[in-house]
């Protein structure tokens, strides 16, 4: 797994590549927790390079999303494809979160 972030005005775009699985999910969660601790509150998670997410990754996302909710923050997703898109659909994440095709369309709509 590889994670980078960039700032677009008040929104932090986090690009995650590779796999969020039982081994890497804690690292993903810590990365986002640290950004929240720095005061960031709005996130777009760019998943265009993400091949794979397991329940451990879903769990991390739910933990972060619940935390952001209590801090008046927001989390959005962009660029889902393949198995990741399928897992999001199966898990009901499409009704839980706003999901966009790309960062550009996310930025235009939030």
């Amino acid at each position: 797994m590889e994670i980078t972030n960039r700032q677009e005005k008040e929104i932090t775009i986090v690009a995650v590549k590779g796999r969020i699985d039982g081994i890497t999910a804690p690292e993903f969660e810590t990365y986002l927790s640290e950004l929240i601790a720095q005061g960031r509150r709005s996130f777009i998670i760019n998943c265009s390079g993400l091949e794979y997410i397991s329940s451990a990754g879903l769990r991390s996302i739910l933990i972060i999303a619940k935390r952001l909710k209590t801090e008046q923050g927001n989390i959005y997703f962009s660029g889902l494809k393949g198995a990741v898109e399928e897992v999001f659909k199966i898990s009901g994440f499409y009704s839980l979160f706003k999901i966009y095709d790309s960062d550009a369309s996310a930025l235009n709509n939030i």
């Binding site: 739910l62 619940k66 399928e86």
Partner: protein
């Protein structure tokens, strides 16, 4: 039935990537799509992680993975452990319609196995838990 491989590894986190890679490359040889292969890897990870985390408590134990094809056109992954009896069908399905405040953070693993495979079976045979993940070898997959 044709057995493609049969491997046994300690039920530890260090074995996970190796086992999943083996299953993934075996699925690839069956001509399955990249998306389906990743779905199979996810389903297999869920089953393996449950064994690694819960089957043997503090003791050492093994997990055995058998990949095979069946003449009716299915790709089957058999995952076997000799830990405590655990029937994945005893776990209630998560409520995926809840909002972010009430949504449970866990309980998605077995649900994903059931949804990402065409068939999922469990049986207890002597001291063994045997989970069978079945994927149809159709052009759609």
């Amino acid at each position: 039935m044709k057995i493609l491989f049969n491997i046994k590894r300690p039920a530890r986190l260090e074995s996970l990537n190796y086992l999943i890679d083996m299953i993934g490359s075996c699925a690839k040889e069956q001509g399955l799509s990249e998306k389906k292969i990743n779905e199979i890897r996810i389903a297999a990870e869920e089953a393996l992680m449950n064994i690694i985390n819960y089957a043997y408590k503090q003791k050492e134990g093994y997990v055995e993975v058998v990949c095979k094809t069946e003449p009716e056109g299915t790709f089957v992954i058999e995952i076997i452990d000799t830990g405590i009896a655990f029937d994945p069908f005893s776990v209630p399905e998560p409520d995926i319609t809840q909002d972010i405040d009430t949504r449970q953070i866990g309980g998605m693993g077995i649900f994903l196995i059931r949804k990402l495979t065409d068939d999922f079976h469990y049986r207890r045979d002597g001291d063994k838990n045997i989970q069978e993940l079945v994927i149809k070898l159709t052009p759609h997959n």
